[in-house]
């Protein structure tokens, strides 16, 4: 069932409430917990931990979840606040000395420490170092890079805890959990694709998932595959519009500079969309011809490794396609996602299996592999589906494994 709830960012909706819910980074989480518990016996040697790691892996989320677990009051400063010597003193100085005497326990957090600047935040780092040295309440520092030379002194007073990129399978599991809660039936391949693309960044994975899957009952691989690593849908739509409906040749050519779109990817988009926009048979043939020629130059680029040939690829796939039609046949047609990207429909293993099967057939039947695929395999499939006795005999004679027999009998 698609959820029809108002738009709440899933990244907030599914924020971990407890440290144990934070995705991945088990060792870092254990260290944090150990350190915070050590405060029960009085201030430990290191009054601060310095959590560092790439964006989106759950550093801030872990700290917030921890505070929630232990019912602590968080005194937090991030890059949006001034962090001069004065400001830091005002904000954390008192809290670091008297915080734990009455009421809730306190936790001082300096987030986004990379954002601290020498000029605008003059003296801030030195003051933070002072606080870390003498604090009576736990202090947590967060940054992407703890080894920035600016942090050299500060670092020495902290326990360093690294957050690593989250593994693909953990990201996938997290996405699957969200899908389950949102009532989305998602293909594993789709989640895998999003997880892979996130490069271990849980936050971006969840944001992508929401963009792609919100209000859907089902999420297939095709729904996500068009997301190339760098490209964004809107950008591509604009470029396509500019190419297909260009005023003139140079107009079409400039479209390519409008966005940072991968050329091979754009080629796929144009290829996919030509027949939906260009319907007149002559124009369709012309446009496809242009694209086929662009394809030849693309091949020449690869062959010669001479990238100057790229200019011809661009000419033909933009201006060539634009000028091949009169635009009379067009109504408003939405652009479609390229299908060819999902090349994986026959996997490497499957291909290997198929070629081994055809080799075995060829050997026994005195045929080349390609003829075996073409002339024998189709009939074998029908036989394997209809007659077990004959199947056993043939399989034994051709020396086919059970896996091969199963593959051949599979309904296509």
């Amino acid at each position: 069932m698609p959820s029809r709830t108002a738009f709440i960012p899933w990244i907030r909706k599914y924020k971990p409430k407890s440290l144990s819910e934070v995705v991945g980074n088990e060792e870092a989480k254990r260290k944090i917990l150990e350190w915070i518990r050590s405060w029960e016996k009085g201030a430990p040697e290191k009054r601060a931990i310095f959590i560092y790691g790439p964006p989106g892996v759950g550093k801030t989320a872990a700290v917030e979840a921890l505070a929630n677990d232990l019912n602590m009051e968080v005194i937090e400063s991030d890059a949006s606040t001034y962090r001069t010597e004065e400001a830091v003193k005002r904000f954390a100085g008192r809290a670091s000395q008297y915080g734990s005497l009455f009421g809730m326990k306190k936790l001082i957090v300096f987030d986004e420490l990379d954002g601290i600047t020498g000029s605008a935040d003059h003296g801030g780092l030195r003051e933070i170092t002072e606080i870390v040295k003498n604090s009576r309440v736990p202090v947590i520092l967060i940054a992407n890079d703890a080894y920035d030379p600016r942090f050299t002194v500060l670092r020495n007073h902290c326990l360093l805890i690294e957050f690593k990129k989250v593994s693909k399978s953990e990201v996938m599991r997290h996405l699957a959990k969200i899908c389950a809660k949102e009532g989305i039936n998602a293909d594993e391949a789709a989640l895998k694709f999003i997880a892979e693309r996130s490069g271990g960044d849980v936050r971006s994975a969840v944001m992508d998932l929401q963009a792609l899957a919100q209000d859907k009952a089902r999420l297939t691989y095709e729904d996500v595959a068009w997301l190339a690593p760098r490209d964004r849908k809107e950008e591509i739509f604009n470029v396509l519009r500019m190419i297909f409906y260009a005023k003139d040749a140079s107009n079409a050519k400039t479209a390519i500079n409008m966005a940072d779109v991968d050329l091979d990817m754009l080629f796929e988009w144009i290829y996919e969309n030509i027949p939906y926009h260009i319907r007149n048979p002559h124009e369709l043939a012309n446009a496809m011809d242009m694209l086929a020629k662009a394809d030849i130059y693309r091949r020449r680029v690869k062959e010669t490794q001479d990238w100057t040939f790229l200019r011809y690829v661009i000419d033909l796939m933009t201006a060539g396609v634009a000028l091949s039609w009169s635009r009379k046949s067009a109504g408003w047609t939405p652009f479609r996602f390229p299908e060819r990207i999902k090349k994986a429909s026959i996997s490497k293993e499957e291909r290997a299996l198929l070629s081994e099967i055809s080799r075995r057939i060829g050997r026994k039947c005195h045929l080349s592999s390609s003829r075996a695929v073409r002339e024998v395999l189709p009939y074998l499939r029908v036989i394997f589906q209809s007659n077990q006795k004959m199947t056993r005999g043939i399989a034994r004679w051709l020396d086919l494994t059970d896996e091969m027999v199963a593959y051949i009998s599979e309904e296509q």
């Binding site: 086929a292 060829g362 189709p378």
Partner: protein, 319 residues
């Protein structure tokens, strides 16, 4: 499989291609075989004839004296330089002083490989004789042709195919009706391998074979009909034709070159004006060449389909 089970073992068992068989028998008698080219359409007994010749020449253990290479799978020049040479250079034990190398689908060999082969044939003719098998002898380079005795295989006469079908059905205890036989003949177009494959597939359903059974198994076996894809395009549905194309390449693993050659085969059977047949053959040739050069299969073939859409449109308008 019945194609192998009922493949003749000896020259005597080959009931047709009489002229060819009698010449081959004379080779056996004199224990001498020249280099040969067996040319002709698929399923007419070329490979069978080569194997039977070897059998009659060497006896039951003939496999030890021959090597079968399929040029489509192993068509590079290195195969000729290494595999072929190694085999050809040594003398066999026994009465016959040479071995036989059967090079199937030789018309798919590259020109370089053929040039290399020519030398090998000459140099080792004492110890090895070559039988080149091809659909078109024209694709074999002239110097090789002039060194070989040519044999032209032709489609089997209808009556003989029918006889073969009846013979197999009797042995396999399969009931076949006249319209079943007719249907098989129509689809297999004189190709005996195809005939027997269809027959066995039809028999696997376990009921008397009539035309319905034949058409249904053939329909199930060929969901990826290239012809169907072409007809979709000719009828103006480019998008459907392109989806079909994707299915052929992705699901069934056909290579672009396989497909364009099948397209070419179909072009002259299409119900379009002759002028268009020639035009389409020309386009197919260009696409074939581009694919060999390494262009993207789907893009090039789609461009071909778009040309078919254009052809269909013009033909409808009487152009």
């Amino acid at each position: 499989m019945w194609t192998e089970k009922y493949r003749p073992r000896t020259l005597d068992e080959i009931v047709n291609q009489e002229e060819i068989v009698s010449r081959l028998k004379s080779f056996v008698k004199t224990k001498n075989v020249p280099h040969c080219i067996f040319a002709g359409p698929p399923g007419t007994g070329k490979t069978t004839a080569a194997l039977c010749l070897a059998h009659d020449l060497y006896g039951e253990n003939y496999r030890e004296y021959i090597m079968e290479l399929n040029a489509s799978d192993e068509r590079g020049i290195n195969v000729v330089r290494e595999t072929v040479k190694t085999f050809a250079r040594t003398k066999p034990m026994g009465e016959v002083t040479f071995k036989i190398l059967i090079l199937d689908e030789a018309d798919n060999m590259t020109e370089d490989a053929q040039q290399a082969l020519r030398r090998t044939m000459e140099r080792y003719s004492e110890t090895a004789r070559f039988i080149l098998i091809a659909n078109y002898s024209g694709k074999i380079i002239e110097p090789i042709q002039s060194r070989c005795a040519p044999f032209r295989f032709t489609y089997l006469p209808r009556e003989e195919v029918i006889e073969r079908i009846r013979y197999i059905c009797e042995r396999e205890n399969v009931k076949i009706l006249d319209d079943g036989i007719e249907a098989i003949l129509e689809i297999s177009e004189g190709d005996l391998r195809k005939t027997v494959n269809i027959l066995q597939t039809a028999a696997s359903l376990g009921k008397p074979i009539d035309d319905d059974v034949v058409y249904s198994v053939v329909g199930r076996a060929n969901p990826y009909d290239v012809r169907e894809m072409m007809l979709m395009a000719l009828n103006g549905d480019f998008i459907a034709a392109r989806s079909k194309l994707k299915e052929l390449t992705q699901k069934y693993g056909l290579s672009g070159i396989d497909i364009i050659r099948q397209i070419h085969n179909e072009v002259f059977k299409l119900n379009v004006p002759d002028k268009w047949k020639v035009k389409l053959a020309d386009i197919a040739g260009e696409v074939d060449y581009r694919l060999i050069q390494g262009a993207t299969d789907e893009v090039q073939l789609s461009a071909m389909l778009a040309k078919l859409v254009e052809a269909g449109y013009e033909i409808k308008r009487g152009l």
